[in-house]
Amino acid sequence: MSAPLTASAGTAAIARPVTGFWRRALRHRSFVLGSVLSLFVLGAALLSLVWTPWSAYDIDVASKLHPPSASHWLGTDVLGRDIVSLLLVGARSTIMVGVIAVGIGLSFGVGLGLVAAARKGWTEELIMRMSDFTFAFPAVLSAIMLAAVAGPGMVTSITAIGIFQIPTFVRVTRGSANAIWAREFVLAARAAGKGSFRITIEHVLPNILSILIVQATIQFALAILAEAALSYLGLGTQPPQPSWGRMLNDAQTLLFQSPMLAVYPGAAIAIAVLGLNLLGDGLRDLLDPRLARER
């Protein structure tokens, strides 16, 4: 990695690679497509904070299951709620769960991974065994346990997804941090008298940041899939709060009457996940050309 290692490098030196980054980025097909799709979903979530065509919470059974029209662009559901409004607010729930769950995975996972790489020995062994172990509990399984004890809900799904995110971040962090620890500049820093904490913060973390950003993007996509599945099962986001998974569950009972109701929310999930995956792939190519060649 040729990026400047210390914060003392001049801003001009940093500014040049950034413009180079954007020039390359705009020519990268999956990065552009991924960004457009991700921003589209993010935009929908932000828009729902200030405006939705109709209220996503008001029930109007008289106008239930309307086909698409000028006033209800994608029609209404069985309770007469506007589909577009439900999709917009659903984007917000999805992104919120995803951000918090990835946040949990990122903070615990990166922390533990950095400690494992810095301390080595039995600390590393213990952390790695523990993270292997956590892999035996997919998010659905932990969500089931939590829901059986504490009841279903957003907190249950966030916790379950967050826990399942931790081991991936531990592995990625520890793997790439170990590679940095083996570099000469870390040896130099040690010779200069820096402790392992300072080396971790000043040298290791900045150098693995791009890998972590890529991983976080992909984990975000996985979190959205998990959130949708949990809400679909009734373990996650609870009504009346709209969520894409819940909408699919509602739509399933009406497959013969209104098949399209089962198409929109799933398409929304797929667009969000596809966007984030493409964005992650693009970022990987752009931030670390060496990784791109290995694939």
Partner: protein
């Protein structure tokens, strides 16, 4: 028995014990009194106490934990709090659906993924490669339960070829059962196959760049022969790792997919039991699923050593 296997088996046992401890703590110790939960807040203290004794919940935690472990060893998982019938029987009834479903979808996954992965690697950067890889990119983004609903829309609602749900059982022979598991298995498999195909492709491409491939070609072996005889065997290690990891996803997936197709499998049992607050059933089901994941990953680890003897030496 070499040191390698001994170490792996010790890790396996330790992992299973840790899993059982966590599951026991979360689903037995943490909720407090299961009898109270079953009878509701306004049950009389005497009745709650009687039920507590009847369910054996008056014994200390350690005793209950050890009894559970001993029960698992001899196949006696206790009785359901709600139905009063043995938990082992309830689970066994459901496994005749869940295990065939998992095996069917794993088979479909492997066939699809290897075919797509080898095809794309052999046609690297050609039109077919780009096309199939774009398809896998979309496949990865599909939630499997939504794909399942789309399949129902197509095959049950539009074409009316297959039923939208339910399980025919194995009593009328094997075909009705397989037929009712076909759509669920496909919807589980497609998404996993998309991931595995990408892994297979990059693993094969990686091996194709190795020196021994050039040597094999130089000694006169055909392209096809090198691919099947030398490349695939070496490319199998990363592919199997991902397959092992996918198995966990697959089991989690069956829980979701069983709900889509109203299949009376393990997943449905878990959800009924959560609704009924039948924690002893939930506990044993979760333990079973976790154990299956751990054991499959153990088997994958051991298989590595057979495929690639270098690993055994490195891990000593």
């Amino acid at each position: 028995m070499s040191v390698f296997f001994l170490r792996r088996i010790l890790t396996l046992v330790a992992t299973l014990v840790a899993a059982s401890l966590i599951i026991f703590l979360v689903l037995d110790a943490l909720p407090g009194n299961a009898a109270q939960m079953l009878m509701g807040a306004d049950a009389s203290p005497d009745a709650v106490h009687a039920l507590t004794v009847k369910l054996g919940l008056d014994q200390p935690l350690t005793v209950r934990y050890l009894l559970w472990i001993r029960g698992m060893a001899v196949g006696d998982l206790g009785n359901s709090y709600v139905y009063g019938t043995p938990v082992a029987g309830l689970i066994a009834e459901r496994l005749v659906l869940t295990i065939p479903l998992a095996i069917m979808s794993m088979l479909i996954t492997v066939v699809l993924a290897l075919a797509a992965g080898i095809y794309t690697a052999a046609n690297h950067n050609k039109l077919g490669d780009v096309g199939v890889m774009s398809l896998t990119q979309i496949g990865i983004a599909l939630p499997n339960f939504w794909f399942a609903i789309l399949l129902i829309l197509l095959f049950s609602v539009k074409l009316q070829l297959l039923s939208a749900g339910g399980f025919a059982g194995w009593d009328d022979g094997i075909w009705p059962g397989i037929r009712s598991l076909l759509l669920p298995a496909i919807s589980l498999a497609v998404v996993q196959a998309a991931i595995l195909a990408r892994v297979t492709r990059s693993a094969v491409l990686e091996v194709l760049r190795e020196d021994f491939v050039r040597t094999a070609r130089a000694k006169g072996l055909g392209k096809r022969e090198v691919l099947w005889r030398h490349v695939l065997r070496n490319a199998m290690i990363p592919v199997m790792t991902v397959m092992g990891l996918q198995f966990a996803n697959l089991l989690a997936g069956t829980i979701v997919i069983e709900n889509v197709f109203y299949l009376p499998g393990l997943g449905r049992l878990i959800f009924q039991s959560i609704a009924n607050r039948d924690l002893i059933v939930v506990r044993n089901c979760v333990m079973l699923l976790a154990a299956m994941v751990v054991i499959v990953n153990f088997v994958v680890d051991v298989l590595y050593a057979f495929i690639d003897p270098r690993i055994k030496v490195a891990n000593l």
